[in-house]
Symmetry: C2
Subunit: 539 residues, 2 copies
């Protein structure tokens, strides 16, 4: 079984044993173009602020280089591989021709022809209009996204293309998630997975936003859903066919077999999102198991048997994590990014030394509390124009004090999310951690203490790739469903971190201060003003 995880800076292939999920070998390919933020490759065309693009050639190179590399590292014969699955960052989305050819292959000098990476944030004005109109019209899908959709998502990005480069929009016969595009390249079959359609494509209760709605945004946007809708596998809902998670998208083509070194004809699983496949890799796909994938940012994924409107969630999608359950997603815009920013700019000592010094302190000894909004706030306020606040510094404050306060601030942010779910009637039974921040044991203990609950941790440091492989195992028929595959192949240690009562009590007092700051600055009055002043001054 091969899982391929397409991240922000690189792609990783992992060879996994079907029986127990053992990771036999892996290989990474760093994207040559990484994130395209300033100038289009091979041109001198400059991009505006907040743009972020990627190159499909980099993605194909992962198939060509990382997959054979992983096979070689595993020492596994290609003929023993029965399937391949891929997960991707999302919403990473691109315009293509009807045959799947990316438009940027034809007009590389045209910025809007390139794939827009998830963190392309230049469509904020378009998202604002979508939200404003949806709120005014009382669109039933809006509460499913915590009351606001993101500028990162399919409709906002597409509307930006339409209005800024109508000729590109017109040529784009398809507007497709990279997760589905890469599966198309592997299988030769176009499919649309139910996960990105729901979380990023605003597909709810069997349909995309209505023609009326799209026309009201811009008359030329009316036919947009035609660029999304397609059908090959899976449920046909109101004429729009989407592919279920764990489904079989198709079989590996000869061309893709040549790229990857895998046998032609093996199963290719339906595409999926990196965060969402990780839940299965952690064997955490039952109701109430919240998986926090903690890296540069944190994504919270949780299946539940209940549908509720949770304030500030990123989305709730039926069958969005596993078939048969509601899938919730929430998020913290910046977590590891905050610590990296701090160390790069203010903490010459580096993460390890700062952690070592911070760890020696008693809870609250630094006298600080911070708001973790340095990258805005996704959940529970859905406001990317918020910014960070640090309170309580004195002339005795040391770099490790601030570092610790920043770590704690993200833990408070996580607690705010958990409490919001529970207050909304969606119980959080278990908090499961995956992702790169797992390696900081001090940070994990802070989370356990602040959350006042044991933390489970994933047993793999390649969670997304393992999750992708696990989906492939289901697609290949090795397991009847994701739940069974997760139980056999997923890895999770329960109660790896247990809260300390005294520290938890001490954190309660600090968390009360955090909540006060949250309420005070959360209205955005001051923070929006400062941002507006900043933006004007920067002109």
């Amino acid at each position: 079984m091969v899982g391929v995880d397409f991240g922000t800076l690189s792609g990783r292939a992992v060879v996994v044993r079907v029986a127990d999920g053992a990771e036999l070998g892996s290989a990474v390919h760093e994207y040559a173009e990484r994130v395209i933020e300033h100038t289009l490759p091979g041109t001198d065309v400059r991009l505006g602020p907040d743009w972020a693009l990627q190159s499909p050639r980099d993605w194909l190179d992962v198939l060509r280089l990382a997959v054979p590399g992983a096979l070689a590292a595993a020492g596994v014969a290609p003929e023993d591989v029965i399937g391949v699955g891929a997960d991707f960052t999302a919403c990473t989305v691109l315009p293509t021709a009807a045959d799947g050819t990316p438009l940027c292959f034809e007009t590389p000098e045209q910025p809007h022809a390139w794939p827009k990476l998830w963190k392309h944030h230049a469509a904020q004005p378009h998202a604002d209009r979508i939200n404003e109109l949806a709120a005014r019209r009382g669109e039933s899908w809006l509460p499913r996204y915590g009351g606001k959709i993101s500028s990162e998502w399919e409709f906002a990005k597409a509307l930006q293309v339409l209005e800024e480069a109508p000729e590109v929009y017109a040529r784009a016969e398809r507007w497709i998630e990279a997760a589905d595009w890469i599966v198309w390249q592997l299988s030769g079959v176009e499919s649309r997975n139910i996960c990105t359609a729901g979380y990023k494509g605003v597909f709810q209760d069997g349909s995309y936003p209505s023609e009326y709605f799209l026309t009201a945004l811009n008359p030329d946007f009316s036919g947009f859903v035609g660029k999304l809708a397609t059908g090959v596998v899976g449920d046909d809902v109101n004429g729009t066919t989407l592919a279920p998670l764990g489904g079989l998208a198709g079989r590996l083509t000869g061309r893709a077999a040549a790229w990857t070194g895998l046998p032609e004809g093996v199963a290719v699983a339906v595409g999926n999102v990196d965060a969402h496949v990780t839940a299965a890799a952690a064997d955490a796909v039952r109701p109430g198991q919240m998986v926090a994938i903690m890296g540069t940012s944190t994504c919270h994924i949780m299946p539940s048997d209940r549908l509720a409107e949770v304030p500030g969630m990123c989305g709730v999608v039926r069958d969005g994590i596993v078939p048969g359950l509601w899938g919730y997603e929430a998020g913290q815009s910046a977590v590891g990014d905050i610590f990296a920013w701090y160390v790069d700019n203010f903490g010459a000592d580096g993460h390890e030394r700062l952690t070592e010094l911070a760890e020696r302190q008693a809870v609250g000894a630094h006298g600080l509390v911070a708001l973790d909004w340095f990258g805005g706030n996704r959940s529970v306020l859905v406001d990317h124009d918020l910014s960070g606040v640090i309170v309580g510094q004195t002339l005795a404050t040391r770099p490790e004090d601030v570092y610790r306060a920043l770590i704690e601030s993200t833990a408070y942010g996580a607690r705010m999310i958990v409490e919001t779910f529970e207050r909304s009637g969606v119980p959080v039974e278990e908090f499961v951690v995956a992702g790169g921040l797992l390696k900081n044991r001090f940070l994990m203990q802070v989370y356990a203490d602040v959350l006042r609950r044991p933390l489970s941790v994933i047993g793999s440091d390649q969670g997304p790739a393992l999750g992708a492989a696990l989906r492939a195992a289901v697609a290949a028929g090795a397991y009847p469903g994701i739940g069974e595959a997760a139980a056999a192949m997923g890895k999770r240690t329960r109660a790896a971190y247990v809260p300390d009562q005294a520290r938890a009590d001490a954190y309660d007092r600090l968390y009360a201060q955090y909540r006060e700051l949250h309420d005070h600055f959360g209205d955005g009055r001051m923070l929006h003003t400062l941002r507006a002043i900043r933006n004007e001054a920067a002109k």
Copy 2:
């Protein structure tokens, strides 16, 4: 004329020409013991938190070394010197025997026998009790100090000695400001200057706090004023004789002549405070001339012909800066200290580079606003338990952004003080800057823009020593009064920095945010809670 300035870490002597204030030569002596904060010199007696002591031997060494050094540097014959004046940090205060011998010379192992430096903050509980009782009794002197006296002042420090070391208190026949003690050493005559008596000794309307008041604090405190009151020169007010500023304290003794190399019998001026003498050195002793001595902290000194209760001022004292006017004092607890703390801990680039980078920015381009309370807030909130706040940081925030925001925060703090004076009916006609921060031209321009007024600057970088020499010139009879001496010897450049209209307008918007933060956090609810949590955790 020789002026001797006793600072926190060193003493400086300057030889000054009587006719025009030209500085002919100077010398500095660094104190061997600097600030005694941890262990008593020559012992292993450890001090508690917030203690800060000094050694009188260091002060005498300034007379022995810096004064002859300055004479030599100036190439001036000792017989051409007609007087000597000294200024000191305040409230720096010590217990002595009746002959002026410091008690620490007798019992060096006893912490309370040593001089308490101005920044000794361990008497806060005693200050709290004094303030609480004064407020309850409606003491008429309390509003003269902005509603609160400081833990740094004579009564709080003395009460601490009484209650923690009653045997030292009993042996202390005198409780005397270092400014007066050093004059005693020079002239052999004990005097008490009207400036420290008023600002630090709570002497108002002709008397110290009453016996009733002292007895209510602690029955054994009742006779305390007897350790202060004395009379040799100047006005006899209600039985307590104080020495006027610019007065003649006495004549140089043979012993002091031997120390300093000056001729026996030259005039010794009445002692005074470093900040207060600087006003004369800047030729800014007329009503409405506010002199800001900007260094590690900022002290604001302003004569006025009006008496008003200005919220949060440090004090208003009749004849406290120049005879015949009310003298106002206000302060910002930390200014240069904030920038030093930031660079030492968070800004590896150093002051010059950070200033260079910060200077390039348009006003508000960093998107930040900060509260300059990293060392508490003296004026206008009189609350040393407040702490700093930084608002608006994002992952794009750079070290120079924060550095600039910190500089601006102190300018906002200064504007808050100026506005508070004017709102209270005490006009500020001119803002005059002295002190070490003058050398940062960018910072000065920020102040001009934020304050929306031209800045005058002192023409000497040895303002206190020049001011002390100027007082000596008056004491020696070279001028009839401080005003005349200041006009001849003081140095000031008007409108050295002029506000830019556009920048001033931009700062108005940021200052509005500062005011909001000031009002929100100024109640201390959150900041006191954080400090209380910190102090408990540190135990």
